[in-house]
């Protein structure tokens, strides 16, 4: 009774299960400003969706969740459009470079190895750093001294760059070169790892652009929205792997989840948000590491996915 046949995925799914999965990932998206692709795609593969269809349809649902999340955060005053557009421009340039890098690596035969190892290292680095830093922040004074000492050296370098601009919503003043270059860096990594980049973009915005966590969440969602619009249309045009029915069920759940996530995000302090996100990232990293160390049950797999 609760089953729906998905024509592009070529399989039938339990509608309620998919709706709940969308809701949970949308909720996380609303709280942390991540697209959730690194969670959703493996979950969809587990319920029998082919990897290429899971990744492409997930991009489609992220469009819905991030629209909902961006709107919710906009109302809370958490979206820095100026910063978001600069990050997006950098991201598009970086993504294009990243795709070329992957082509070269695939030709050399090293692509999969590099992608897997990059994933684990990035997740581990981001998770551990974020966890340690936010733990110190929650503990109080000592952390402030540490950050201030580091900040002054970093702030000096950043202040010397040309084209300094004030970003009102974020309450920071820095060169427009910063979001362009950092956006490009995230774009390259996102293209290599095949993800929207939220879990890399959020720490970059917090630690390198010095944006307050609540504005980071809203701005990150704004940037992910456009990245995923591009990916959805490209995947539909080139690979025909977007299953609209699957994306529709997911996004009904995720758009609702994102609204609730935004409300919860409002109630939590910046350091609390960071430490929870860091924990989530570390759990995903451990899961990936186990996947690398333990012998898989079947030594063949369908092509595609993350």
């Amino acid at each position: 009774m609760w089953h729906l046949y998905l024509p592009i995925a070529g399989n039938s799914v339990n509608v309620l299960l998919i709706f709940i999965m969308g809701g949970i990932v949308g909720f996380l998206s609303g709280i942390f400003g991540v697209g959730g692709g690194f969670l959703m795609t493996p979950l969809l593969i587990m319920v029998g969706i082919p990897p290429t269809v899971a990744a492409a349809s997930d991009s489609n649902q992220i469009v819905g969740a991030s629209t909902s999340g961006t709107l919710a955060h906009y109302r809370l005053g958490n979206v820095d459009f100026k910063m978001g557009i600069l990050l997006l421009i950098g991201g598009v340039i970086g993504g294009t470079i990243g795709v070329q890098i992957i082509k070269v690596l695939r030709h050399m035969g090293n692509a999969d190895f590099l992608i897997q190892v990059t994933y684990v290292i990035m997740l581990g680095f981001v998770g551990i750093y974020m966890f340690a830093e936010s733990l110190q922040g929650l503990k109080g004074a000592k952390a402030v001294d540490f950050v201030q000492k580091k900040e002054s050296r970093y702030a000096m370098i950043v202040k010397k760059l040309p084209w300094q601009t004030h970003f009102e919503k974020s309450g920071v003043e820095l060169s427009i070169i910063m979001p362009l270059v950092l956006g490009a860096f995230v774009g390259i990594l996102a293209a290599i790892m095949g993800v929207g980049g939220g879990f890399i973009m959020v720490p970059v915005m917090v630690y390198l652009l010095r944006m307050p966590m609540h504005v980071v969440v809203g701005t990150s969602l704004f940037q992910i929205l456009f990245t995923c619009i591009d990916v959805t249309i490209m995947q539909a045009r080139t690979n025909h792997t977007v299953d609209f029915l699957l994306a529709l069920i997911l996004l009904v759940g995720s758009t609702l989840g994102a609204q609730f996530g935004a409300k919860i995000s409002k109630r939590l302090k910046g350091d609390q948000l960071k430490i929870i996100l860091a924990s989530l990232v570390l759990v995903v990293m451990v899961k990936m590491l186990l996947g690398l160390l333990l012998r898989p049950h079947i030594l063949l797999a369908y092509i595609g996915g993350h």
Partner: protein, 248 residues
């Protein structure tokens, strides 16, 4: 039990009548796998074996191996050419059952996967093709597209040297579109005494068919529409929650 040859070269001397219902599988929005009923008559001193084979296809898969001696990851790809999309095998239980295990059924050189393996072409840098084929079977079994089971065939009354049989088979929800052969073998004393085959066709219908047609024939438009629906859904949800407080 070993048979004397491939069914196509056997001169089946005894008649086998079969009926397959339905003869067409329509995969509409509510499709979640389906049962097909195979019934008919075989010579009374023989046993029935039913095989369902899908169209042949080429399949390219990732091959996992160990990098640096300890990291399991994708280390290349393998191509399987001319493999059946579906392979299901059913036989009756009892003292006269001619397969006593799934392994025995798979290894039957005329009726099991061993028979199929002869036509499959495996392209890979990895040399152990037997091991690769075993992994391929595991992958297909996991999705329910390859399978073997005993005890699904039931016999009824015997009449004028023939006995009637019936069997209900489950086709999985991930069934690819295409034409499937439902084959019935009447097996007796190590040989095939009778054979008959019917074809059934599986295709998408209704809304899934419409969506697939749009996706494959008008990809860019489909992508834009998918994005528009997602944005509208996101905005509508935002309107539903409009009563929230603004910036602090």
């Amino acid at each position: 039990m070993c048979f004397t040859g491939h069914p196509e070269f056997i001169q089946a001397s005894m008649p086998v009548k079969i009926t397959v219902q339905p003869d067409q599988i329509l995969m509409g929005a509510s499709y979640d796998g389906t049962d097909i009923s195979v019934s008919g008559e075989i010579p009374e001193d023989s046993e029935a074996l039913i095989r369902v084979i899908g169209h042949t296809e080429d399949s390219r898969l990732k091959k996992k191996g160990q990098a640096l001696g300890f990291l399991w990851m994708n280390l290349g790809s393998v191509e399987f050419h001319k493999v059946p999309s579906v392979f299901l095998l059913y036989w009756s239980k009892g003292d006269n059952a001619f397969f006593h295990s799934v392994q025995e059924a798979w290894q039957s050189p005329d009726l099991g996967l061993e028979a199929i393996k002869k036509q499959v072409d495996i392209v890979s840098d990895y040399e152990d093709k037997e091991a690769l084929f075993e992994e391929f079977i595991k992958l297909k079994q996991k999705s329910g597209l390859y399978g073997a089971a005993e005890g699904r065939i039931r016999y009824k009354e015997e009449n004028k040297g023939m006995k009637s049989f019936s069997c209900s088979l489950r086709l999985p929800s991930g069934l690819p579109q295409g034409v499937y052969k439902v084959e019935v073998f009447a097996v007796k004393e190590g040989g095939i005494a009778g054979y008959s085959v019917k074809e059934i066709r599986a295709r998408q219908a209704g809304m899934p068919s419409l969506i697939a047609s749009l996706a494959f024939n008008h990809g860019t438009l489909y992508g834009i529409l998918a994005v528009l629906v997602a944005v509208i859904a996101g905005l509508l949800t935002g309107v539903m929650f409009k009563g929230e407080k603004g910036a602090h």
